[in-house]
């Protein structure tokens, strides 16, 4: 007679139970993050959207909880449109410059660097993110100041007249780089560069060497290979990186606050409306703007075939 096997320990019975019910195991794994994402993240996003359809009573300063489009009417007054256009223009310029600066670095990391060098480069790209963003922005204020190191360097290269010429351009110039849109642009490109390098590097790493060889084998010079094979396949990475740089610039209020002048950016407007003025609906309407812009951008990128290679 065969004696009954001793009952397996509880942990093993749980493992077996879950192994036979993969759907339950998956549900248990996904429930916490999904609850977080659904309730906290999407919930707050939804309440933001709802807030933007309320309005502020001008007399009492109370939020009127009734559906109205009047807040959006306020959003499109010339002063606010000015803020939106300025911020979007800055975000677009920063994105283009960051992509241009990131691509060669990412290309070198993905194709040429030895594993050791690649690790060092990863470290170098990520290192700035370990220190406080605020400290870095303020240190740039010192670098860009009239008496700062950049100006000193430029003067010694006898290029100070070129900087003066750039600062004299109305709209982007100012008394010095540390108080101008030009300086703000430099700092934005610096702080968001890692967010552009990493996705482009990841996309380039996924392009097999044999595709580049095949293009050359079929008669394409390196420039043509880059344009017809490497760039289209890296485009999803460029788009991913540009989503970061674009949306981060659209929402930022610290860099404009530290390096800007009286001309406001969206982030500052949101801060002012929900804090000082207590106009939560208008602040909410302002934050909807970047979301709409990003949605439109993604749609356009998809139309242009940026994700075809995914």
């Amino acid at each position: 007679m065969i004696s009954a096997a001793p009952a397996p320990p509880v942990t093993r019975r749980i493992s077996t139970y879950l192994y036979r019910r993969p759907a339950l195991a998956l549900a248990l794994l996904l429930a916490p993050p999904l609850i977080w994402l659904g309730v906290v993240y999407l919930g707050s996003l939804f309440s933001l959207l709802v807030q933007s359809f309320f309005s502020l009573d001008g007399f009492t300063g109370q939020v009127v909880r009734r559906f109205t489009l009047s807040t959006y009417r306020d959003l499109f007054t010339p002063a606010n449109v000015d803020i939106i256009l300025r911020t979007s223009g800055m975000a677009a310029a920063v994105t283009v410059a960051a992509a241009g600066a990131a691509f060669p670095i990412a290309y070198y990391m993905a194709r040429y660097a030895s594993p050791r060098k690649k690790a060092l480069l990863y470290l170098a790209v990520l290192l700035p993110l370990w220190s406080s963003y605020l400290v870095r922005v303020y240190s740039w204020k010192l670098i860009l100041a009239k008496e700062g190191i950049l100006n000193w360097f430029v003067t010694h290269l006898r290029l100070d007249s070129a900087v003066q010429w750039a600062l004299a351009i109305p709209g982007i110039g100012g008394p010095s780089l540390s108080v101008s849109l030009l300086g703000m642009f430099i700092v934005f490109v610096y702080v968001w560069l890692p967010y552009m390098i990493l996705p482009i590097e990841a996309a380039l790493e996924r392009v097999p060497e044999s595709l580049i060889e095949a293009s050359g084998d079929l008669g394409a010079r390196p420039v043509e290979t880059f344009r017809r094979v490497v760039l289209p396949l890296a485009l999803p990475g460029v788009v991913a990186g540009s989503i970061f740089t674009f949306s981060l610039t659209l929402g930022d209020f610290i860099v404009p606050y530290v390096l800007g002048n009286s001309a406001l950016f969206i982030g500052q407007a949101v801060l002012a409306h929900q804090g000082t003025a207590g106009n939560i609906p208008l602040a909410a309407a302002f934050t909807v703007v970047p979301m709409v812009i990003m949605g439109g951008y993604l749609l356009a990128a998809k139309r242009a075939g940026a994700f075809d290679a995914l």
């Binding site: 095949a214 084998d217 079929l218 075939g305």
Partner: protein, 346 residues
């Protein structure tokens, strides 16, 4: 020797990676219009040779000529050769037709001519009407055909194929072998084919070169290489062979010189069978029997030491019959003329 200029000419070509000599002093002529196979185990230097012809890699020393013109320093895009890659290397962001048209587009061939040549090529590789698909929507065999069409559409003077059938299953591979050979005869382009599969090499090639450890061991027609292997490595790699040396060789032939004998050339006789003139014989006992359907492989331990592998067609024998042969004392017989003396490398 032929007087025409060879399609590919290697003169004392070596390629080192650090201390490793991937290609070691190879001299070779591949004739215009022939189907030439570079055969060898992995790491033997055959793929490196192909990359040297394509221009993806450059020799450390030596000279490579294509149709009499030295190409040693030329990049791939300035060589009149095209490659079918092992992983096909189809551009994932382009349709099948765009993939095939790529080389023509680079050469600025007008669009209407391009379209006509792409359509013609897709029907040659039996994929008509699939031009709008993406590579990801194709099966492995179809991708392989697209890769072939993409290379052939440029009418290169030499087509390089790097184990193109490696990822396909056996049935499809055998079908593609015959198709490739037929296409080669139809277009008349020199094919240089890399494979580690000796059966594939024997099936398709006009001539083949056997590589071992970076060196070219033997060049010749399939039958010549199979029947007259120059070295023990070739004898063992191209087909299966028994290598007999030392005391065992002396006991059989009267001379200790190493020779090889193919398993299918040996007959199994009862112990004490008469040995006629011109025959070799060896007594032994059947050690092991492997039934393989069409034929059976026997491992026979010899009385004078060593063992021989013998294969026999299963003309009458069944699986049960051949299994019963285990442990039976036998006399192995074969024509002395089938012995092939070979040189052994240390």
């Amino acid at each position: 020797m032929t007087v025409s200029i060879p399609a590919v000419h290697f003169s004392r070509v070596s390629r080192s990676f650090g201390d490793v000599r991937a290609v070691d002093d190879v001299s070779l002529d591949i004739l215009d219009g022939e189907f030439f196979t570079l055969l060898g185990p992995s790491g033997s230097g055959k793929t490196t040779c192909l990359r040297l012809i394509a221009g993806f890699d450059h020799p450390t020393s030596g000279r490579i000529e294509l149709h009499g013109v030295e190409v040693s320093g030329l990049p791939p895009y300035e060589r009149d050769v095209n490659t079918v890659f092992q992983d096909y290397a189809l551009f994932p962001h382009m349709s099948v037709a765009q993939n095939v048209a790529y080389g023509l587009m680079i050469k600025r061939v007008p669009p209407h001519e391009r379209a006509a040549r792409v359509a013609e090529m897709l029907s040659l590789v039996q994929l008509p009407g699939l031009g709008d698909r993406r590579p990801a929507q194709l099966s492995g065999g179809q991708r392989q055909r697209v890769a072939l069409a993409r290379a052939l559409v440029n009418h290169p003077r030499v087509l390089l194929l790097d184990e193109p059938l490696g990822a396909l299953d056996l049935k499809l591979r055998q079908q593609m072998q015959l198709e490739l050979k037929a296409i080669q005869q139809q277009v008349g382009i020199t094919f240089v084919y890399v494979t580690h599969d000796q059966e594939e090499a024997l099936t398709m090639s006009d001539r083949l070169g056997v590589f071992n450890a970076g060196r070219l061991e033997q060049v010749g027609a399939p039958a010549a290489v199979y029947e007259h292997p120059a070295t023990d490595f070739v004898a063992g790699f191209v087909g299966v062979s028994n290598l007999v040396s030392g005391a065992t060789a002396a006991a059989i032939t009267g001379s200790p010189e190493t020779f090889t004998i193919r398993p299918e050339k040996i007959l199994i006789g009862d112990a004490g069978t008469t040995v006629y003139d011109g025959m070799c014989a060896a007594d032994g006992r059947i050690q092991d029997v492997v039934y393989l359907g069409a034929h059976t492989r026997y491992r026979v331990a010899l009385a004078q030491g060593g063992e021989l592998t013998v294969t026999q067609q299963n003309v009458e024998a069944t699986s049960l019959d051949v299994q019963a042969a285990r442990d039976r004392p036998v006399r192995l017989l074969w024509q002395r003329a089938h012995n092939r003396p070979v040189t052994t490398r240390p």
